[in-house]
């Protein structure tokens, strides 16, 4: 009996293997027909929304923090102005950081300063 079981198991195994092979072949044919799977989840619309809200929100947060410090210490215009400056800086920093990450993901460009010096920056 155990022998028979073993036999049926191996036949099942080969059946599954054969199916696996067939699937792989079908997948390869499909890939060849459709080209590489290059649909990106990060659609342009999503990217645009992400960058613009990041810039705007950082500026607003900086402005609000500065205003709050003004209210606390009565240092009227300076907190607001300095907060605005820091907010703009933070906005640009996070936009650059996000854009860098998007580049690294979609264009396979290395992240940060490690990019190749092939093209001119300006």
């Amino acid at each position: 009996m155990p022998k028979q079981n073993g036999q049926s198991d191996t036949s099942l195994q080969t059946d599954l293997d054969a199916l696996e092979d067939k699937l792989a072949a079908a997948k390869a044919r499909r890939d060849a027909k459709l080209g590489k799977d290059d649909k990106d989840d990060n659609s342009l619309l999503g990217m645009a929304w992400r960058l613009s809200t990041e810039l705007l929100a950082s500026v607003l947060v900086g402005l609000l923090l500065g205003w709050g410090i003004d209210q606390l210490f009565g240092s009227q215009p300076f907190g607001l102005l300095i907060g605005l400056g820091f907010g703009i800086a933070a906005g640009f920093m996070s936009v650059f950081r996000t854009a860098d990450a998007m580049d690294a993901k979609t264009g396979h460009i290395p992240k940060g300063d490690a990019r190749p010096e092939l093209e001119d920056e300006d």
Partner: protein, 249 residues
């Protein structure tokens, strides 16, 4: 019928329940549709979890959605963050179902209210802070001060980093809320315009074809936006969870 473009966002107090600190807590249309989307999600996963070896159509939907979120967490944060997967799964499906249910006529879009999206965003960022401190101790606050800078630079960099961290929940909340409001207002405006043109009668009624075509295009776009915004919210949660596990970035 609501005729103004903003009337669709009005909160309707259906039953006043009780008071906390002078504020009345009520059962509203918003609460009803939030519960409706949760019920729809539970129904969806009861339907899709039959547990057969060879999955049918519904079961593969459920399995695909699990795989989708699991892959997203694994790819953007790493396998160590899988304990947060249920949280991200819940976020994604709640936003997705709320957005999609909001696309139906007479339904209320709960995600078009800043109170709802801000609650989710603030909770998300609190999860990041609490998990970060839990895991790394107070060393976690080093994410605000990247290593290897000349000392005077820290006076500038630390406030900037703190501001951009506080901006995260703001962007999460505002993006979802603004997307839903803008889309629904646009939809309503086009539809109202078409209705007015038809009501005028005569030759002007023929001009209604243009806004009707526009409405149809916006409906398609809105379904895309509904799914995309749920995805964006979930993937950004993953990106922010990175800070829990990778303090030195």
């Amino acid at each position: 019928m609501a005729s103004g473009p903003m009337e669709q966002f009005e909160i309707d107090r259906q039953v006043d329940l009780f008071e906390i600190a002078g504020q009345t807590v009520s059962w509203t249309n918003s609460a009803f549709w939030m519960v409706a989307s949760v019920v729809a999600i539970i129904a969806f996963f009861i339907l899709t979890m039959r547990g057969k070896l060879i999955p049918g159509r519904m079961q593969s939907l459920g399995e695909l959605s699990y795989e989708f979120i699991a892959d997203m967490v694994r790819d953007t944060v790493g396998p160590e963050a899988m304990r947060f997967m249920p949280f991200i799964f819940a976020l994604f499906f709640f936003i997705l179902f709320a957005n999609l249910i909001g696309m139906n006529p007479y339904a209320f879009t709960t995600t078009s209210h800043l109170a709802v999206t801000a609650t989710m965003a603030i909770f998300t960022i609190l999860v990041v802070v609490v998990a970060g401190v839990w895991k790394n101790g107070f060393k976690w606050f080093k994410i605000f001060a990247p290593a290897g800078l000349p000392v005077p630079m820290y006076a500038i960099i630390v406030p900037i980093e703190i501001i951009s961290f506080i901006a995260r929940p703001v962007t999460l909340a505002v993006r979802l809320f603004a997307n839903m409001v803008a889309g629904h207002v646009m939809l309503k405006l086009f539809a109202i315009f078409a209705a007015y043109l038809v009501a005028k009668g005569g030759v002007t009624a023929l001009g209604a074809i243009l806004p009707i075509a526009g409405t149809m295009a916006i409906v398609a776009l809105e379904f895309l936006v509904a799914a995309l915004q749920a995805f964006v919210f979930a993937i950004l949660t993953c990106v922010y969870l990175n800070d829990v596990y990778h303090v030195d970035h």
